[in-house]
């Protein structure tokens, strides 16, 4: 099975490597002597982002392959599988942000190496905006919190651990314990939106890095956006882009979104309707069985008789009558419980 799976994944990986190689060639061919052409700059910027993302994925694949995870599914996608064996949104987020940020650094390196004024690789500094570091931190913290909750739940309720092999599916990312989960859905949307916005910032930053002179590059690396500084706000029309960032309000939004997602995992995952139906069914079954017991005991009494003068038989008859009475009382209590459940939830 392992060999078959490995072989079926390899053609896909081969195509991916070929695509990255083609992007690299395309990128190199776009580095024409007319960097001012707006259409070619647009394509160059997009190709650069795609190329760096592709190289980052290949890099991760290479690392997993070194440690023996030799195909795409058993390698890279394994990063997305949570402790319960399904694909995890928090892990997906952490991986996405890691890929985006590593790719951004690769873009910076490529831009410096292929700067129109020459090779400026010596100016390279791994600079990040604070907001991006916060976003990466939030997604990592979220994935760790989710791991903690999953392990804690499994420890407290071992019966919830599936004994069958869990096959991860793409749908796991949006599905909770009781079907589609809106908190997951909205968080995925915010994450994708944040990545698109961040990549657009990278696009403009890269354009400048490709064309700026030595001095301009140094200035760019120190050009951080400060949302709460009035002077920075006033200078938003500046032609120089900032080190790629996301606004703090967006970081707060992502933080709240992560908080809801993690918090939701801490509250019981059942739907009250399901519990009601299950409990009712359980109680109705118990009532039915006790009702049968009561009828059977009554029938035994009506078809048997104490032997004349037998103290044991008299005591036995009294014990059966008492048992019938206790059973009926128990049935009444259960019926009361059923009514209480209905009244409480209706």
């Amino acid at each position: 099975m392992g060999m078959t799976s490995s072989r079926s994944q390899n053609p896909g990986m081969g195509i991916f490597i070929a695509a990255v190689a083609l992007l690299a060639i395309w990128f190199y061919s776009l580095l024409d002597p007319d960097p001012q052409g707006s259409s070619s700059r647009l394509i160059l910027g997009i190709v650069l982002i795609l190329l760096s993302t592709g190289i980052t994925i290949l890099l991760l694949f290479g690392i997993t392959a070194i440690f023996g995870y030799t195909n795409f599914k058993k390698g890279l996608l394994n990063f997305l599988i949570g402790d319960n064996g399904t694909y995890s949104l928090s892990r997906l987020q952490a991986v996405l942000w890691a890929v985006v940020i590593i790719a951004y650094q690769l873009q910076v390196v490529l831009c410096l190496c292929f700067n129109s004024h020459g090779n400026y690789f010596h100016l390279y500094e791994p600079v990040f905006s604070e907001s991006v570091i916060w976003l990466l931190g939030l997604s990592l913290a979220s994935s760790i919190a989710v791991k903690g909750i999953t392990v804690s739940n499994a420890t407290q309720n071992p019966r919830t651990i599936s004994k069958n092999t869990v096959v991860p599916r793409l749908g796991d990312i949006l599905v909770g314990d009781n079907g589609l989960d809106f908190s997951k859905c909205q968080m995925l949307i915010w994450t994708l939106l944040a990545i698109i916005v961040f990549e657009s910032k990278c696009f403009f930053f890269n354009q400048e890095l490709l064309t700026q002179s030595n001095e301009g590059v140094e200035k760019l690396f120190n050009h951080f956006y400060d949302e709460y500084n009035k002077n920075t706000k006033d200078s938003l029309d500046s032609s120089s882009p900032y080190v790629p960032y996301l606004t703090w309000s967006f970081v707060v939004l992502m933080g709240m979104s992560q908080g809801v997602y993690v918090g939701k995992k801490l509250v019981p995952s059942f739907k009250l309707g399901d519990i009601k139906a299950s409990k009712q069914s359980e109680l109705e079954f118990e009532t039915k069985q006790l009702d049968l017991k009561s009828k059977i005991l009554s029938e035994i009494l009506s078809n048997t008789a104490p032997s004349p003068g037998s103290a044991i038989d008299k005591a036995s008859k009294a014990a059966i009558e008492e048992e019938i009475s206790r059973t009926k009382e128990r049935i009444d209590i259960i019926k009361g419980d059923i009514n209480q459940i209905n009244n409480f939830l209706n």
Partner: protein, 221 residues
């Protein structure tokens, strides 16, 4: 008739571990009634103590006419008691005692086993010399009980079957009783074959042993 569905532990459902014992007794009462028998009030649950069983049997035997037939039926659990780890186990019927379901194991004197029954069989032989004693054991380890309970085969018929795998509830009978009721009208010396053939045809992994009293081999209930 004796029925005790409880065992040394509570069942997860909260019901007795063998809830079908009530239905077994009801069915036997009705089956016997159809055949002209009369049944005294059965000993169920907390009344199914070793003392009550012995007292009831003594009381009944003392009231029997010389040629009367007496049927003893036990439905419930049985178990094995080891006096020492190396000794041969003594099979006993689980009878009621305080804290039965609390997992406390009392001494053998709290249970009904071969020694008790031997005395009852002896007493029956003396008091009811022309009678027929029929012992029906519908419980786990019934085969272990049979050697101890089968004394004096001249007038004593023993019918034993295990039914410990029966996943039955209140409205069902034990696996054995379902087959037993089908052949009640047949001679004692044919019952074993009939029941075991039926088990085999249904692929039920159970079997029963019937030792008919020599005097009454071709008789029916």
């Amino acid at each position: 008739m004796v029925g005790l569905g409880d065992f040394y532990r509570q069942s997860p459902t909260g019901f007795a571990t063998l809830p079908f014992i009530y239905n077994n007794i009801r069915s036997l009462v009705l089956d016997l009634k159809d055949k002209g028998w009369s049944s005294s009030t059965p000993l169920l649950d907390s009344m199914a103590s070793v003392k009550n069983i012995i007292d009831k049997m003594v009381e009944t035997i003392n009231k029997c006419a010389q040629d009367e037939w007496l049927l003893f039926y036990f439905t419930g659990h049985a178990s094995k008691y080891y006096i020492s780890p190396e000794s041969k186990p003594i099979t006993y019927c689980v009878t009621y005692y305080q804290n039965l379901t609390k997992g406390q194991y009392p001494g053998l004197e709290q249970f009904f086993y071969g020694q008790h029954y031997s005395r009852i069989v002896e007493m029956f032989a003396k008091k009811v010399p022309k009678g027929h004693l029929i012992t029906v054991l519908d419980c786990c380890y019934a085969f272990g009980l049979i050697d101890d309970f089968a004394a004096s085969a001249e007038f004593h018929t023993v019918i034993a079957a295990t039914a410990h795998n029966a996943p039955a509830l209140f409205d069902d009978n034990s696996v054995f009783y379902k087959e037993f009721t089908k052949v009640l009208g047949q001679p004692f010396n044919t019952l074993q074959k009939l029941i075991n053939t039926s088990f085999a045809n249904q692929e039920i992994p159970e079997s029963c042993v019937i030792k008919p009293a020599k005097k009454f081999e071709s008789f029916t209930l």
